[in-house]
């Protein structure tokens, strides 16, 4: 089959690779009808996540048609149309039973789990197409994918609704939704969201649906800010204003009740702390550029909540722990517990309660995936979300 494979920094290309096979009883093989490039794929593209191997297939946002099921799977059958969560989870361990599939104890293969047990204290769950730290599973920017525990993760999609409307259930919609939940929004709250990429935009939509009185979105790409505005946010361009001062002014000195960091480890911008972080990251003296994380903690009101859907991988310098403690903040984060949210969010889409397609800027055949990566990285203003069609 054809698949988008990683060969080093800024080096991805579509290759012919072996077809995936049913290996375990609960596996299914999915013929992929739509897949997307995620902002977090750019961390792989930029070689910021360790544990990648030459030839790995990327992609963790995908959906398609079931073409083969293992003998241990009684809930899926050939021809079923499914969206696949990016988190691989067994459904039976301590964490899955507590509805925390992103903390699944079993999905990361035994030999791969060593790395994060050492790096993070506990091994983390498997993810599709996201380095060997999270299992070394082949991703979904391909014609076919093997889906483990397919009787637990994938959600069936009824006929009559197009792929584009439901594809983002795989990651960015539940990720934006959980980011808003983690922000612990009370009716009428002011929520500030850093980053108007796909996750930030879904956080804007979700925060409003969850009762925020006011959402303030922060970015520097005019087109992305326009999308946030169209979704009901007030916007700040950090090239034009000092963000913390603007937020204080807009809230009459109180600060936002909640702040969401939808940027993660590769902050943009030319603030002094970020320039130092960029140098450290480039020279491998540091791993993450947590400029936004610092800014959210400084900006949020006393007793407020900081929610972090943005991906971090290593260590953060100059974490403002004083502000964090003295202001009495709550910090909530984590990979998304996708499976937890799927039924309710699918229902919301089917009822027409949310527009999930306005952020899509480009639709490309899989063969042009490398072009998609390059532009999603370099032309972020125009390239807001790329969907790939493998068939």
């Amino acid at each position: 089959m054809r698949a988008l494979t990683w060969h080093g920094k800024h080096n991805v290309q579509v290759d012919t690779v072996p077809d995936p096979q049913i290996v375990n009883p609960r596996d299914a093989i999915i013929k992929i009808t739509a897949t997307a490039i995620c902002g977090s794929d750019l961390h792989l593209y930029d070689s910021m996540i360790p544990g990648m191997s030459n030839g790995d297939i990327l992609g963790h946002e995908f959906m398609g048609e079931v073409v083969e099921v293992g003998r241990g799977n009684t809930s899926l059958k050939k021809g079923d149309r499914v969206v696949v969560p990016f988190v691989i989870a067994c459904g039976q361990c301590f964490f899955c039973e507590k509805s925390m599939p992103a903390a699944c104890d079993n999905s990361n293969p035994a030999d791969k789990a060593d790395a994060t047990e050492i790096a993070y204290g506990q091994s983390v769950a498997g993810l599709f197409g996201y380095s060997h730290l999270t299992g070394g599973f082949a991703g979904g920017q391909a014609e076919y994918a093997r889906v483990p525990y397919s009787d637990y993760g994938p959600i069936k999609i009824p006929d009559g609704i197009e792929d584009e409307k439901v594809l983002f259930l795989s990651d960015i919609f539940p990720t934006g939704w959980m980011a808003a939940e983690n922000a612990q929004i009370q009716p009428g709250d002011t929520v500030a969201i850093w980053g108007c990429g796909p996750v930030g935009l879904f956080a804007v939509k979700s925060a409003i649906l969850q009762g925020a009185g006011r959402v303030i979105a922060i970015d520097h790409h005019p087109n992305r800010l326009a999308l946030a505005k169209a979704n009901g946010a007030e916007v700040l361009n950090y090239h034009e204003v000092k963000v913390r001062e603007a937020l204080l002014e807009m809230t009459a000195g109180l600060g936002p009740d909640s702040c969401i960091d939808a940027v993660g480890m590769e902050s943009h911008g030319f603030s002094p702390d970020n320039i130092i972080d960029a140098v450290k990251q480039e020279t491998r003296l540091g791993t993450d550029r947590p400029h936004v994380l610092r800014e959210t903690i400084m900006a949020v009101r006393k007793g407020g909540t900081v929610s972090v859907p943005g991906v971090y991988g290593g260590f953060a310098d100059k974490f403002p722990v004083g502000a964090f403690m003295e202001k009495g903040l709550t910090l909530k984060t984590g990979q998304t517990h996708v499976q937890r949210y799927l039924p309710q969010l699918l229902q919301l889409i089917l009822e027409g309660g949310i527009d999930t397609t306005d952020l899509i800027s480009h639709r490309l055949p899989l063969e042009q995936a490398a072009e998609g990566y390059k532009n999603f990285k370099e032309n972020q203003n125009e390239w807001t979300k790329v969907i790939l069609k493998p068939h």
């Binding site: 060969h7 290996v23 030459n54 297939i57 241990g72 293969p109 035994a110 093997r146």
Partner: protein, 189 residues
């Protein structure tokens, strides 16, 4: 070593915590590790007690032939792709709680181990603790070789306990082995 030495009722007094390094240090190569498994204790004990099941989750124990009277013959992956053979004798068998074994004289390696099962006090399933030790075939050189081959006991115990947990909780062992489970491009650039 007696069972009481791994009690977690009083963490600070537990040999397993305080003296883990020393305990492991008494052997050329050894490991003591715990894992919580979300299945009933009796089921886990029964699966382990049928020693022919060991190769289903161990990549080190390649085959087990039960000889009777608590004795069994194991083919174990050794350094340098060389299999070693040992005869194992069960020295202690408390149904539902504990199995201990040791290799008998004349085996290619000296090996001993035990596995203990207890209910988690807070209803979180079964606490499984495993101790394995062996004298590598060629002393310190064997340990280095074994480590290179990822069969050093700590790595071995860590991975095999994860596989045991996966198999017991989910009925299968998670894998991303290329090419079938996780296809990838083989061409290099």
């Amino acid at each position: 070593m007696s069972y009481s030495e791994v009690s977690t009722d009083a963490d600070v007094g537990s040999t397993a915590f305080v003296d883990k390094d020393r305990r492991e240090g008494e052997y050329e190569a050894s490991s003591l590790r715990a894992v919580l498994i979300n299945r009933p204790r009796d089921e886990l004990y029964a699966y382990w007690r049928d020693l022919t099941n060991l190769p289903t989750f161990s990549e080190t124990v390649k085959s087990v032939e039960v000889l009777g009277d608590g004795r069994s013959r194991w083919i174990v992956a050794g350094p340098g792709d060389k299999d070693v053979e040992l005869t194992s004798e069960i020295t202690e068998d408390v149904p539902g709680e504990r199995i201990a074994w040791t290799s008998s004289e004349g085996s290619d390696v000296d090996h001993e181990g035990w596995v203990a099962f207890r209910d988690n006090a807070f209803g979180r399933g079964t606490e499984v603790r495993v101790f394995i030790s062996y004298e590598p075939p060629a002393g310190i050189v064997g340990k280095v070789v074994a480590k290179v081959m990822q069969r050093e006991p700590r790595i071995q115990a860590r991975r095999e306990l994860r596989r045991f947990k996966q198999l017991m909780e989910t009925g299968e062992i998670s894998t991303s082995k290329a090419p079938d489970a996780a296809p990838r491009a083989s061409r290099h650039f």
